[in-house]
């Protein structure tokens, strides 16, 4: 599964994107954020407040309860500030 990061999430993790293989038990978006947070200091810095993080699966906004099954690209980013 491809993960894409934007804005300060991208900066804190230090990567714009990466491929990951999900361990068993990571079923929802919320599970993914918690698992990522535990992958190291940079991830922990980016995801210290998972509740404010926004996620899109294959270019559609989703809630943290959304299942990841079938997702090709999961984007993880801060609240948007365009306009």
């Amino acid at each position: 599964m491809k993960l894409a990061y934007f804005a300060w999430v991208r900066e804190r993790i230090g990567l714009a994107e990466e491929e990951v293989a999900l361990p068993a038990g990571v079923v929802t978006v919320g599970d993914l954020l918690l698992w990522l947070k535990g992958r190291g200091e940079t991830y922990d810095a980016a995801l210290q407040a998972p509740e404010i993080i926004r996620v899109a699966i294959d270019h559609e906004h989703v809630d943290h309860s959304e299942p990841l099954a079938g997702a090709k690209e999961v984007a993880i980013f801060p609240p948007m500030t365009g306009g």
């Binding site: 270019h59 984007a75 980013f77 609240p79 948007m80 500030t81 365009g82």
Partner: protein, 191 residues
Amino acid sequence: MADTRNSADLAATMYDGARETSPAGKAPFDSGADTQRSEIAFDIRVQAESIDARAVTAALSGSGAVGALVTFTGYCRDEGGRLKALELEHYPGMAQKQIEKIAREAASRWPLIGVAAIHRYGLIAPSEEIVLVACSSAHRGAAFEAASFLMDFMKTSAPFWKREHLKDGTVGGWVEAKDTDDAATGRWHQL
């Protein structure tokens, strides 16, 4: 979708705005425009270049059916002279799709004739435009409301992020999302 923190009461209050432009007896979000929907002119773009507002609005106002055209242009402020430029990061795969989705939603809620929504990315200097929204319709109510709706959702659900570049050469922080923007979006109920 992510913007689900909306107060139902607030949404219900502002719901009336959309209802006013709907034919009596129709469901609130049914604009009654089903037969026109396929004819709506959409001009949705995500681009680095500056926006030719005159050309965009001329294209929207060229029909005899148009009685009202509302445009909104968002500019980069100089923040009291501190700011050299705003950097607009975007999610290329998603930005255009999301703006199209918002525009289609606006067209399903109000009887619009044309919709333009153009958002820039990259480095934008003070006094340059960042975003242009324009809506045309037979009467002004639909055009005003739809333009406002589009802007509220562009700010809170289109994948763009602003960062300040300052005149002293430093790169400032990422602009924080405002609760007031979320509240403004919430008044329209959910997308």
